[in-house]
Each structure stands twice: as structure tokens, then as C-alpha cells.
Subunit: 441 residues, 2 copies
């Protein structure tokens, strides 16, 4: 590394911002801490990063959502506590949405609004932790969203994981079964499409995971944060195939997390829906009964855990998501149309990285190239992901390392959502400068 | 009890709703479960309860809040993740509000928006739990808001408490010191005004508690859910005494919880602010460093705990509360004027209870009658609080028992916010019927 190069961001400003975090080792910085460094450097210098660290949707939401929310505020929803199990219209719309786009039947009563999928995952983990205290570990199919593991750390659950890189199809199922056999795993989590590799599990894999969940009595937490965003196939038409793949087709042991943040560009309002199968919702656990006085997984989720976490979810945002989900299920609003923009940007940004000496890390998806979507992954010869993340901050490019995602590969997770076309030349110029300062061996 | 009386609500409808909760013993029903019973009976019968179980603000919020929120939505805040440490205007307004109405100096950076004080308390408990793992117990000055104890159960912290009934002034301080001496207590919590007794700690008591916090190195969680609502004195004028009492005047070891729900009638949007002293915010704990890679109490609160709980708080609601707090601090909006309505209702509803054979439980506040405010407490001769709660549900009156509040007295917590003047005759009639069926011994 050429530490003496004049970099686009002054070294002292970057160093000062890094030091302000109080981290023992910058390699363990989480997404929000990288955001903080970029914000501080920008504030101190007036210079702008090309920001690809955070999964921030860069699109405007459809007015269907905001107008419904504004109307609800005018009608006075701000004064009234939201029902803990959610605004009835959102519960109804969520069930119809799930049927329309995954072809899975769920009941409105089992569709629970949450303060973002972040809260949905937290509440799910906590419910599982207390329902099945004799098993203390969650299995992650990595790479993944790092904060879900921090959630487990906070709750006091353990986790095991493996990197899906090169482990697909029957190998994937064999690997999962081997881990479930240990008997300590209460739940497994995967995202589809996967953040950040953008790999997509295929139907055979999903069916196999569902069968394993039944065989070993494990709950699948299916993170659908990027619902429908495998743009190689168009799942945007309600009630007609192809559908967003879901384990809900093959097992009752699931909690689906549907986020308003990405597909609906509604991250600011912290709104999502946790969709629980009826059987899982009603399943009675003696450990829940003795801890909470209520045995049902769903009742504890709603009346105990969500109550304690935030007493429900901001009322007006529930009206917004209800309106968007209902319009999508009715075929009046193509919720994926706007998100295609991410695919177009991904294609262009990949090209800029590759021409500057980077390579794709997760490139192959069961014989096909991974789709162009919200994220992709890149590496640079001779550098670890952590070193690359840290070094690029001096070059005005803000991205997180794959380390934190549970990947065993060396590289970065690139999020394309916040990079506009007008920034492409600047990105190219900065990566070129980086490459000049760091000639590959 | 006359179990055969014809009651305003059909017995079978009430019994069915109670059974639907799956509780082993109805005496342990929480507020939301009582709400559920009342909702179900109303839905099944078309009859209406006089509802006094839940602290639901019954007033319309000022348009300052909703208009600011609507404008923020129009400007696109729904698309952008909120900053984890909060919208800068809200942080700024919260610090000014605290100075204006408690005369305590706090920094905007230490004023953290939360998804309601519920999330604020949860995050605070979790931070303290992980900062001071060698002390596993929180002290509550009871009676109090029962869900805060459920939060501790979920987190895995213990709690001890005592009933403030008859324990005031120097007795209170002696009692607290005796409990702190055990060395297992990391934090103590009280609400001022107190929910549900509506007792208010006096300045000498608050100063004494602050001194004990310093002496035993304990963090005070000051729940200001009912900010300024001791209507015996008018604290609504910014910058001039009298002020809302606060331990912040006497110690740095505090987290104040300021709620948007009650004083600002904004419960629907789940918005509040956790205000931490600068010293507590910056205090470094080795246990936090080893668990989270960050030592500072405040940094863990924001970048680890709030991140994991919900990735921040609904964006538009932050604009609403910012506008209301700023207008209040500037003297342009008397945020307590509307809330005086609760005091007027309390006076009238107390009278209805008393004329039907009930008596006040917490009646005396250091020689003065307790103020008329959001809550008061009543008992009935010869009946426990739990039996009274359960029996009144048949009489169309929905209230929670004092048991769940940590009180050792027998009686009910009456919330006046949702009872309109037009319901007073109905309440009178139903309580009379109850009294006729349950002649006091």
C-alpha cells in the first residue's frame, strides 16, 4: 500500500473520524460505524463520498403510501395507540400480498406489523429463544446481514453459520443436515435473494430446507427483505407464476419477514410485517407458558415481546404499507417496477469496478451469473476485505467488508442503491487512483 | 358476590373473551389482555365498556405536530433511514425543552429519539445490564408501570421493589439506602408523577435519591411519562420556576425518559426521547467494550442496542415531536393546557366512585391530597384488586388491578383519559348496579 499518496479524502480527517468511534480495531466496524465515519469526514471537509456501505433505498416511494399515511394522520391516528397485533387493514393486505406473490396461504391474524424487519427478527429470535430454551443456537446460511448476529449476541443466543460459496444444491442440504444433527439448533435463517451475494436459493433447495426443518423441528426465519428483486424472473404479477420462492409452500415451521424498506422504499418509517404460519402462531410451548403465562408462540410474540419492545409500530406507517401492499395485490401498482433501477445501476457499477482491477467474489449462481440487484460483491488482488474497506475510505469510496457478513471470502459488499449515474465518472476516477496507488501483485 | 345477577355485559361473552387469552389465571392479565377482553366483548355484543384500563390519551394532538409530520412526508423522509442517534432538529429541541421545563442542562447529542418510552426503557435496561453485569437487579419505587418489569423478565434482569405507600420523605431515603447497600442494584426507576398513585416526589426526596445514586454508583431511570402533569403547580412556562422536578439537577447518573404519548397526545406514533447526562453518555464500561467493542454507555445505546431493536425511530414522527418540543420551549405552545382536561375529569370520576362505595387508595401525598390527573386509585370494601378487576368486567367497566403495578394495596388503577363527560351517567349507573350486587360487609 502506498500510504503517502495524496488521497481524495484527507488522511487526517479520515483518521480522526475513525478514532472518534472508540473501536479497538476498525476491522470490526459495523455498517452504521462506517456510515458515521463517512458522515464525519463529509461534514469536516465538505467533500462527498461515493456511498455504497449501507442498504439505503435511493428511490422515492410511491405516493400511494405517503398519501395514505398523510390521510391517516389527518384523521387522528397519531393520538391512538396502535393495536399490538397491528392495524387490521395492514394485516389483511399483508395476507393477500403473500398469497398473490408467493402463493402461500396465511391468515391476517398471523401477519404482525413490526418496526422494520429489524424488530421482526429481534422479536422472532427472542420468542424462539424462550420457546425452546434447551436449544441455544441459530443457524445462518451466510453471507448475511451482520446485525442479525449482533441481535443474537444481545439476546444471549449463539449462532453457527457456513458460507454458501460453493455449497449449493444437495451439498447445501447435506451441510445443513449435518449441522442440525447436533441437536442444539432451534432456528435457521436465510435471505432470498441473499444479502450481499445476491445468490438466490432455488426451489429444490427451499423444498429440501423445509423438509429438514420438519425433520429436526427447527423454525425457518425467511428474510424477504429483497422480495421479488431477483430480476432474472418477473414475479410482479399477482396470482400468476412465477412467484417469489418461499419455504411457506413446503412447511408450517416458518416466520417470513417482509420489509417495507427496500421493495417499497419506505425505510424511513421503520415498517415491516412478520408473517407466521397459523400452525406456528398457535403452537403451544411449555417454556413460554411458564415464563410468560401464555403458551402460544404468536400470543407471546404480540402481547409480550412486541409490547415490551415498543408497544407496537408507528400508526400512520401501518396505513402506508397497508395501502401499498393492497394495491400491489390488486394488480393496481407494480411494486417492483421502480426497483429495477437497482439492477440497471448494478450492471454499470460492476463494470466500473472490474475495469479498475476488481473482480466479482460471488459470481456464479448454480451455473448462471448472479442477477444484477441491490448488492454485489467484489475483491481486489492481494488485499483482505477489511483492509480494502479501510483503505477505500481514504479514496472517497465507502463500502463494508464481507468479513462482517459471515462470508469467508475476501472482499466487499457493494450496495448500488445510493449511487446515481452522475457519480459514475467520479467512482471510476477514484477507483483508478486507488488502483494506481495499489498495483496488484 | 352475586354471580347470578344480570350484568350489563352478558356473562358468557365476558367468560369467552377471558378464556380466549389462554391465561392460567386471569389475575395475572396485563393491560393489553384486559384491553383484548373489552374489545372482544364489545365486538361480540355491540355493547360498550366504560374504558379506564389503558393509559390511552383521549385528546387530539396539537396540529403543530401532525402538520410538521405531514410536511416531512411530503419532503420524502419516508424513503431515508432515520439517523440512529435521531433527527438533529429533534435532538436540539429535546435539549432546549429539558432546559426550559426542568432547568437541567443536557446536550443535544445525548438526547436520543426512541420508539416510545417503552423502547427507551428497554434499551436503557439492556445497556445497564451489559455495562454492569456484576449487578443484576433494578430497584423500582412502586407502584409503577407493570410492563417495565416484564421488560426486565425478558432481558433476564431481576428486580426488587417496595410500595411507597406510607414511606415518604426520610423514610423513603432510608428504605432505598437499605436496599442499595446489598450491592446488587445497578439502577433504580421511578415515575414522577407516579403511575398510578399520582403521588409526586418532592424536591428533598429527589435530591436525596440523587445523593444515594452517587454514593452507591447507581443509575437513576427517571420516567417522565406524565411530564408536568402534577396540576397542583403550573410548570408550563419555559425558563421560569416552578419546574418539573428532576434528579438531573443533583446528579449525572441519570437517563430521563420523555414520552410523546401523554403530554403531547402522540401515542400512536411511538415516539419519545431518552435524555442521558453527558457524563453518563460518555462513561466507559469495560464490560461494554468486551461485549460490543465500544465502551461508551451512549455509543452502545445508539449504535448497538437501538440499531438492533429497530434501526431507529419512524422518521416522520421525529419531525412531529421536534416541532412540538421546540414550540413549547419557545413559549409558542402551552403543551400542558390540553392535558388539564384530565385533571377535570379525574375530579368528577373520583366523585362517582366514592358515592358508590369505593374509596381512594393512594389518597395522601405528604400531607396534601394527591393531585387530580391521568390516574387515580380506588378500592372496594372486602374485595381484592384482582377480584374487583375481574368482576367489574361483567359490569361494563374495564380497569386494571393494582396488583400488577407492584402496589401492596388492594384496589384498581383508574385511567380517566378515555372517559368522556357523556359517559359519566352510565358509569354511575353501572357502579350502582355493582354496589347493589355486592353490598359491602
Amino acid at each position: 500500500m502506498n500510504r503517502n499518496a495524496v488521497t481524495p479524502m484527507p488522511r487526517e480527517a479520515v483518521d480522526k473520524a475513525k478514532a472518534s468511534l472508540g473501536l479497538a480495531d476498525f476491522a470490526c466496524a459495523n455498517i452504521r460505524e462506517v456510515v458515521t465515519v463517512a458522515n464525519k469526514v463529509e461534514a469536516a471537509t465538505g467533500l462527498k463520498y461515493v456511498r455504497m456501505e449501507m442498504g439505503v433505498p435511493g428511490l422515492k416511494p410511491d405516493t400511494i403510501g405517503t398519501e395514505a399515511e398523510i390521510e391517516a394522520l389527518r384523521q387522528g391516528c397519531a393520538a391512538r395507540y396502535p393495536m399490538l397485533d397491528g392495524h387490521p387493514a395492514l394485516k389483511e393486505a399483508a395476507a393477500r400480498f403473500v398469497k398473490a406473490f408467493t402463493d402461500v396461504d396465511v391468515e391476517p391474524r398471523c401477519c404482525i406489523p413490526v418496526s422494520g424487519s429489524m424488530q421482526g427478527a429481534y422479536a422472532t429470535f427472542m420468542d424462539i429463544c424462550h420457546a425452546v430454551p434447551e436449544r441455544d443456537t441459530v443457524l445462518f446460511i451466510d453471507p448475511g446481514f451482520p446485525v442479525q448476529k449482533t441481535q443474537l449476541d444481545i439476546i444471549g443466543l449463539k449462532h453457527v453459520a457456513f458460507d454458501i460459496y460453493g455449497v449449493r444444491g444437495q451439498d447445501l442440504l447435506d451441510k445443513v443436515e449435518q449441522m442440525l444433527k447436533a441437536g442444539n439448533i432451534s432456528a435457521m435463517l436465510f435471505a432470498n435473494p441473499n444479502n450481499p451475494s445476491w445468490m438466490c436459493l432455488q426451489d429444490d433447495e427451499i423444498r429440501g430446507l423445509a423438509a429438514l426443518a420438519d425433520k429436526y423441528d427447527v423454525i425457518i426465519v425467511e428474510d424477504l427483505a429483497y422480495f421479488g428483486m431477483d430480476f432474472r424472473k418477473d414475479v410482479s404479477h399477482p396470482g400468476v407464476p412465477p412467484f417469489q420462492p418461499s419455504v411457506g409452500k413446503y412447511t408450517d415451521r416458518f416466520v417470513m419477514l417482509i420489509s417495507g424498506s427496500k421493495a417499497f422504499s419506505y425505510a424511513g418509517q421503520r415498517i415491516g410485517v412478520a408473517v407466521i404460519s397459523s400452525a406456528q402462531y398457535d403452537r403451544a410451548y411449555p417454556a413460554l407458558a411458564s415464563r410468560y403465562g401464555v403458551a402460544s408462540f404468536g400470543a407471546v410474540f404480540v402481547n409480550r415481546i412486541l409490547y415490551c419492545l415498543s408497544s407496537g409500530t408507528a400508526h400512520s406507517a401501518q396505513y402506508a404499507l397497508a395501502a401499498m401492499l393492497a394495491a400491489a395485490a390488486d394488480g393496481k401498482y407494480n411494486f417492483l417496477e421502480a426497483a429495477h433501477e437497482y439492477g440497471r445501476r448494478a450492471a454499470a457499477i460492476k463494470e466500473i469496478f472490474i475495469k479498475n482491477g476488481f473482480h466479482l467474489v460471488y459470481a456464479d449462481d448454480m451455473g448462471d451469473p448472479v442477477a444484477d440487484g441491490f448488492y454485489f460483491t467484489v475483491g481486489y488482488p492481494g488485499m483482505t476485505g477489511a483492509a480494502l474497506m479501510e483503505e477505500l475510505l481514504y479514496y472517497g469510496v465507502s463500502i463494508i467488508s464481507l468479513d462482517s457478513t459471515g462470508s469467508h471470502q475476501q472482499g466487499l459488499r457493494v450496495c448500488v442503491s445510493f449511487v446515481s449515474e452522475s457519480q459514475f465518472p467520479l467512482l471510476d476516477e477514484r477507483l483508478k487512483m486507488f488502483r494506481d496507488d495499489h498495483p496488484a501483485a
